[in-house]
Each structure stands twice: as C-alpha cells, then as structure tokens.
Assembly symmetry: C2
Homo-oligomer: 157 residues x 2
C-alpha cells in the first residue's frame, strides 16, 4: 500500500536519512550538505517557502516530493516549483513517483497555483515517461546555470 502525506514536524531526521540515501544512490554525497535541523527549520520555521510530501510503502519511507513557492513573470503570479521528486531505489517501479506527483498536483490546485514547473535531465527516461503520461510539457534544449563559491564572490565584488 502506497500512502502519500505531508511531512510532519519532527520528521526532519527521517527526511535527511532518505535524502542522504538518495544522494548516495546518485553518487552525490560529496555535495550533500543538509542537516536534519536545517531541513526542519526550512520546512517548519517562520517564513518557510518549502513543503515536502512523503510516500510510504507499507509504512516504510519510499520517496519524497520537495516543492517551494516560485513566481512567474509571464503569468504575474506565484507558481509551484518542484525541486525534487525522488523514489528510493528499493521502491522504484511500483507507482510511487506517480502517487507523489498526483499529490503534488492536488496541493498545487488547493493552494491556487496555476502551474507546476521543474527541470529534468535529458537522459531521465523514467521521468520522461511519467511526466509525459500525465500531460506535462517537456521542453528540451535548456541549460541549467549556476554561480556559486569563488565565482559568485568575484562577481559580487
């Protein structure tokens, strides 16, 4: 049985463990910086802009969807940004991702967001199949750009 529900206060540690396991499965541990306390504060602290849904398979944490408030200049209103939709390797191919995506969509409609957007790597065939199947528009030919560390400091100087 797959159940999707909002994360509850006090579950920052469980979320951290799942994100850590996901980072390990993607060989991203070198860049993995969150702490349980930091996640808890981001989700439940004052002025929070992020939310998280957890998926459980038979009571075990199986995946999560992390979203935050965003804004579209062309719509002139807030939209939802889906920062992360992940299913632990052991629970993949059971429909967990789709259940999470459905719950994210319900939340977006509840909150009055007209649109959800996210980015996906080109090679992510599982993602493409899921997102296409629900009617998402997938625009290729995009670059993800980022400036941080020394380069950010130099530009700001």
């Amino acid at each position: 049985v797959i159940e999707v529900r909002p994360i509850r206060p006090g579950e920052g540690k469980a979320l951290w463990e799942m994100l850590h396991a996901l980072a390990a499965s993607h060989n991203f541990l070198d860049n993995f910086q969150p702490t349980p306390e930091g996640l808890e504060a981001a989700l439940f602290g004052p002025g929070s802009i992020v939310g998280c849904l957890l998926a459980e398979c038979d009571g075990e944490l199986a995946g999560c969807a992390f979203w935050h408030r965003s804004f579209s200049t062309f719509r002139g209103c807030e939209v939802m940004y889906l920062e992360d939709l992940s299913v632990l390797p052991a629970f993949q191919k059971r429909g967990v991702g789709r259940k999470l995506l459905e719950a994210v969509a319900r939340l977006a409609v509840e909150k009055g967001y007209p649109s959800i957007f996210w980015v996906m790597m080109d090679w992510n065939e599982a993602g493409r199949a899921l997102y296409s199947s629900v009617g998402a528009e997938i625009e290729p030919g995009v670059c993800y750009c980022r400036i941080h560390g020394e380069a950010l400091m130099r530009l700001a100087a």
Copy 2:
C-alpha cells in the same frame, strides 16, 4: 550611464510596461498575464518571496532582473533563483545585462545565499557568453517541464 537599483513601491506599472515590451519583442504576448497591481503586490505585499532590480540607461528603464527565494535540497538551505534577466532590445550590447548580474550577485551575497541558479535556452548565445564570462556553470542536456491547465486538473482529480 548605467545605474542598477532595486525597484521601488509604486513602480509596478513601469515594470509591467517593460515586461510587456520584452514579451512583445519575444512574440510572447499571447501568454503575457501580469498586471501592474499583481506585480506590485508580489514585490511589496506581505510574505513576498520575489525581488526585482531595475537598470536605467541615462535615466531610461533599460532592463530588469527578477529573482525569488528558492531552496536546494542538496545544500539544505535557501538559494536564489534568477527568474528573469532581460534587457530591452534598444539597450542591448551596452553591458546592461552584466551590470544587472553583478547587482544580483551582490544582493545574493548580502542576503547570505551561497548560490544563484537559473535556466537558459540552449540557443541563447548572448546569455552563454555573459554567463560564462563571469564563471557560471552551464549544464546542457536539461529539460524544462511544466504542467498546467487541464492536465494539472486531471492529475489533481
């Protein structure tokens, strides 16, 4: 003389006019939905997550940078999302974009954001040249995904 400064309350109309001109120059007017009042509320209303810097060339509005608060699960903290960096056609190739980007970087550092991220179309050579010149990382092979309208309603049902 190029001057970059934060937008001020009451300038929602001027911003709207510039965004409208930019949308026209990109043939995006069909999807252009903001209103001056909506922009004003998004920027200066309670719980605002967005900010905007305006560039002026000799006192005339020449471009804008629109950003909003964002969150990275791998960093476990807030980062800055650059939603839009635009220069009106008549003011291009004068260094306005770079001045805006520098001001965005200063703001990010002031606010304690460790990173700024954004997306760019693959074919945007002017953007690529500017962003590379300041040390941004540009990752190709990304898709921009979006669900809205009927598809969002069906998924949420």
